[in-house]
Assembly symmetry: C2
Homo-oligomer: 554 residues x 2
């Protein structure tokens, strides 16, 4: 085979001394598949892990990394190759080195204590090890024949979280934890798929088979509506719900305009009187409307607020409506003895979404959905001929995905290593630091707190005292102009701080405040890094104040 460019940097593959050329051939292929038997090769492979664990992390100390010191456009120009070369371009060592030098510096340092803008954070270092274990075992949870004990282990992890959420009896868990016909929940890719799964189940249960109708899964939405004598199917959601619910409405064929937002109060909680009114509007034969589910949020993406879950649960129970809670963000608050009570009512939900890669601090790609009723997921069961293990049930039968990794091994191990108490320390720190952040904002004339933190997210804006006064002008056009001016300031402020590369808060737009004429552009801080101390919070605000001063004098 043709010779290839020489490897660009040491270390070279130790079993190929003096032959730096890279060719795609049978011999080199066998080498990458065989577990190395000789100690020199083993030592090299371990050395690579050292590079990954520590070399990669060095860039962290430099900057937050969303800065455009190298612009996106310039970066884009470096990644314009669409051909796949026949022969290897690089060896593993060079790939690792390349990632450390050419990728990591332009990735986002989500682990920085000053990165408080999104729901992605520092990972405890052991998570990287656990992810490595899952990759090395390479089990496929779609069926027992490619996972065996990993499927059994997963059932235990699902039961642990289910119990934490729904608090059913010990006898309940003894009966269901390993019962092949019971399904306490499902691991999926992320919260979006978890919400989709919950609404999929709710849709199928609302339009279940009846006389002369074989169910919506088989016959489709249109036939289902005819069978049930309705013209539309709706989902009532918090006005602050994540857009994944609209997406689920689109995917599931009910139409995303049928995901009806219910007005929230000033703190972002769903207003029960609006919910009950919406249910009344959809009820009765004249409305020709089926309500598939009501969705409450435990930790909204934008402000971190929790809907009045207990009251929503009461309403749904009275009307026999599926109650789903999107706790993708807030779910792990249940680990905290101090703050778990903020989610009271979640135990009465029919289904609950939780993300592992958010406040369980797992690597990306671990959503979960839980169902109070262990038979609920029967509504979405699918079988395949080549999966055929008698007397036991493959987890892939009731799951929106097919092949998937052993994320449960990571979460289960993390629960062993952290204990609920370890997670509680993180949760408590996040909530208390967010409160401290809010206090700090209230003490500064230049800033205005727009939503106080209920969990560990808060929004605020920079609003100079002179402009604050003009917000209360009797003249609506003055108020409107002032709103726009404040919005403009906050957009520029957020961008300049990001570009400076020391800290990162995100920005979003909230509805107009009473009397204001425009949606409010606000800064959004998410506190999920235990290294984000009070000092860090003050530094971030100090920097924002300094940026504004420079802007104002420019």
């Amino acid at each position: 085979m043709q010779k290839q460019q020489p490897s660009q940097s040491p270390p070279r593959h130790p079993s190929k001394p003096g032959h730096p050329d890279l060719v795609a051939d049978w011999e080199s292929l066998q080498r990458v598949f065989l577990q190395p038997e000789n100690d020199a090769v083993k030592a090299t492979l371990v050395k690579y892990m050292e590079q990954i664990l520590f070399g990669l992390q060095d860039f962290l100390k430099e900057h937050v990394g969303i800065t455009e010191a190298v612009s996106l456009e310039a970066l884009s120009r470096r990644f314009m190759e669409s051909r796949i070369e026949i022969h290897p371009r690089r060896k593993l060592a060079d790939v690792i080195q390349g990632i450390i030098e050419d990728i990591a510096p332009y990735a986002v340092n989500v682990a920085s204590p000053y990165f408080v803008g999104h729901m992605t954070s520092a990972l405890p270092f052991f998570m990287v090890h656990l992810q490595t274990i899952a990759a090395a075992l390479n089990q496929n949870l779609v069926k027992l024949e490619t996972s065996k004990v990993a499927s059994i282990y997963e059932r235990q992890v699902l039961a642990k979280l289910h119990r934490r959420i729904f608090q059913r009896s010990a006898a309940f868990y003894a009966a269901h934890i390993q019962h092949p016909e019971s399904t306490l929940g499902s691991f999926v890719g992320d919260g979006t798929l978890a919400n989709l799964t919950a609404l999929w189940v709710a849709r199928n249960r609302r339009f279940q088979p009846t006389e002369g109708f074989e169910g919506v899964e088989k016959e489709g939405i249109s036939t289902a509506m005819a069978a049930y004598g309705v013209k539309r199917a709706v989902v009532l959601v918090s006005g602050m719900a994540h857009y994944s619910l609209r997406k689920a409405g689109g995917v599931l064929g009910i139409g995303n305009r049928q995901i009806i937002p219910i007005d929230t109060d000033v703190n972002g909680g769903m207003q029960i009187r609006h919910l009950t009114q919406a249910i009344r509007d959809c009820s009765g034969p004249a409305s020709q409307t089926a309500i598939i589910a009501v969705v409450g949020v435990a930790g909204t993406t934008e402000t971190g607020h929790v809907d009045p879950l207990d009251e929503i649960a009461r309403v749904c129970a009275g009307e026999n409506i599926h109650f789903h809670v999107d706790a993708a963000w807030g779910g792990p608050t249940l680990m905290s003895e101090k703050y778990g009570g903020l989610l009271t009512g979640i135990e009465r939900a029919d289904s609950v979404t939780i993300d592992g890669h958010k406040q369980f601090y797992m690597p990306m790609g671990c959503g979960m959905v839980y169902f109070r009723d262990p038979l609920a997921m029967d509504a979405v069961a699918y079988h395949a001929a080549y999966v055929n293990r008698p007397g036991s049930v493959d987890l892939g039968i009731k799951s929106i995905e097919g092949s998937r990794s052993a994320s449960s091994l990571i979460l289960g191990s993390a629960l062993d290593i952290m204990g609920s108490g370890g997670y509680a320390v993180l949760i408590d720190h996040g909530i208390e630091t967010a409160r401290e952040f809010a206090r700090e904002i209230r003490q500064r004339d230049l800033f205005e707190l727009t939503t106080p933190p209920q969990l560990n997210i808060l929004t605020y804006r920079l609003c100079p005292p002179a402009l604050q006064k003009r917000l209360h002008s009797p003249d609506p056009s003055v108020r409107r102009r002032t709103c726009r001016e404040i919005n403009r300031i906050n957009i520029q402020l957020q961008r300049e701080q990001r570009e400076a590369g020391r800290s990162f808060v995100s920005r979003t737009t909230l509805p107009p405040a009473p009397g204001e004429e425009e949606g409010r552009v606000v800064l959004r801080a998410v506190i999920m890094n235990p290294m984000t101390s009070r000092k860090v919070v003050r530094d971030i605000l100090d920097e924002q104040a300094a940026i504004y001063t420079a802007m104002a004098s420019a």
Copy 2:
């Protein structure tokens, strides 16, 4: 805080000498988040990786591991704990040790050359390193602000595969590879989600907005059908298509009974005359049917066969129907100069599914879907207020999932390390070994080849000569009894071989052969491990023959 059980085995956490008790507190929490500065801690963390890389692999040498030497029931009884303890139960070292001792021996050794039963295999060792890198960087590809260069890198990887599939011009790729408005494809969790995404796009394009109708995504299936004057929407699929397509029909609200299987020929390829007939049946106003897509398969799950893609493409082009190819399994065949031609016609598809965790040998959880038209995915775009990066487009806008990991970094790096030539060696080995397997079967009287390998999958059954003769009896009841007898033998054979724990082939059921009265239970072999040699193939058949001899004499 309360004291906890002492750690069960060394090594202990080196920074806590003499204090083996595990407590969930602030101090221990900080330790797991902080990157260690001292060399002793670093050395320990690297040591753990050595345990993971090599300790974990030792169990591989023992057995294939689907045996029920420890029964599922007995295993299940070990995982019955549904409480989460407050304090840590174990340290990382103990968790790793526990996985090596208590989990790995009961997991499935998918890496064994004798494990030829499913589409899950040995990984090249560098894949584990690459997965570790992705975890350590912890980028979230949902948006630029949590991924930056990783999003740009991903676009390049998508373009590389897109080009390999669709072979569009260099100018096309130069224009689209980094163009924010262009979407060449999407990384998703697996092939199921890739197929779902393809049909989601096809559905939305078939029922796109028209005068007085805002599109199916917004208004739902029922309104869409009314707007387009149809009573049903169908997808025409190969009779051998994966069940994920039926699932997609159910999820998308068209009903899984509208996923219409088209008859296949004896080799499993879709019969074009049946396809054109089905299209005719669905056409014309009288049928009141909308065809959303036609789906061909490149590598069916059960037999590995490839539909006549070129002919299907021609039919679909003539009728202006979306043509999707499920190449989850067979897609990487395009890396082989020798066998890539088996997929001719795939370049004319509108969309293509490929799985990274199958024949790209990546860790679990990497599906991909590609679209010939870079604007096709506009039909499934969603925006969120808190994602707001001017002048650039977040990858999460057009994706069924939200948060997800940098799988593209793994695939892109693997392409660098392997070259297309490296993958071609694997593909060629699989196909040629499968052919050798088939030759070996043909040479043995005891076995019957039921589907010859077109790619690297074959099915066969054990069928003793005496029974083979009786299959041709003029008496249908004799034929039926004989079929059942052969099925029973193969079921028992597959199970006994699995239980013996040396090798694993799977089993599935094919339609009756001409003249036979029953579906045929067959053994299914998937050759995707370069260590699966001709000797291994002969060993597997020898073992089956021996098992049968023992069965027959029992």
